[in-house]
């Protein structure tokens, strides 16, 4: 059953065509500080580029929000990322995920004060 859904998703994802946009996910450096040795590591953050569907922005109380739709297989666990770059602009990943069914992820990203 799972493979049937995955095959369907591949076709549906292709059908989205140019509605998809390339975005960059910036991975968290999980602290960069080693609590075992009380010292700073020189680990730097790494980025991955994936395709996503970006929905229009909404602004409320100075907080601008977009909804972003990914394939799960492209991104994995979303909490490994600290932010998203859309058109080279940085957006924070909101704490609320709209939907995560194991095949796709649909979530809010936001930024303030622009």
């Amino acid at each position: 059953m799972r493979s049937l859904v995955e095959e369907g998703l591949i076709i549906a994802w292709e059908e989205l065509g140019d509605l998809k946009t390339e975005i960059t996910l910036v991975k968290k450096v999980n602290s960069g500080f080693d609590f075992g040795t009380s010292s700073v590591s020189d680990e730097s953050s790494t980025n991955i580029v994936v395709q996503a569907v970006i929905f229009e922005s909404k602004t409320r109380n100075g907080l601008e929000t977009k909804e972003v739709f990914f394939r799960h297989e492209d991104v994995g666990k979303i909490n490994q990322y600290s932010k998203i770059l859309i058109d080279e602009e940085s957006w924070d990943i909101g704490p609320n995920i709209i939907n995560d069914d194991g095949f796709t992820k649909y979530l809010y990203v936001n930024r303030r004060g622009r």
């Binding site: 910036v26 602290s31 600290s82």
Partner: protein, 133 residues
């Protein structure tokens, strides 16, 4: 090692545990500049106070700032505080003739937000470190 360094070593050992890192809460010590702008993290400050029962002992406060995204309510801060309680409240660390005890926590809101996109709560918990002369 001195009492201050051993106190830090004992308390920081909690945040080096795999069970803590599995909680996925970015954790920074005070006076540390993170590379990323996290929307959720904690910052740990160890504040030594008075001397304890001898010159190798010290009492103080462990202060943890809990930062979460502003505008989403307090629930996530409270969840993180409860997780911290599981790792810290009434815990004792002993090694090489020294002991660090941690007691009960309190949680207060802070109006002194350093970043308007973040909500800050202050979690505090007293500790006593006993060393031998």
């Amino acid at each position: 090692m001195s009492k201050y360094v051993t106190t830090e070593t004992d308390i920081f050992s909690v945040f080096a545990l795999e069970t803590w890192t599995d909680e996925d809460i970015p954790t920074h010590p005070a006076n540390y500049t993170a590379n990323d702008h996290d929307t959720e993290f904690i910052r740990i400050s160890i504040i030594p106070g008075s001397s304890g029962i001898n010159s190798n002992s010290v009492e103080g406060i462990l202060m943890i700032d809990i930062f979460t995204s502003a505008g989403y309510g307090d629930r996530r801060s409270l969840v993180i505080a409860d997780i911290l309680d599981q790792f810290l409240v009434k815990k004792t660390f002993s090694s090489s003739g020294r002991t660090t005890q941690i007691f009960e926590s309190t949680l207060v809101s802070s109006n002194d937000n350093e970043d308007e996109t973040l909500n800050r709560k202050i979690y505090t918990i007293p500790f006593k470190h006993f060393g031998v002369n």
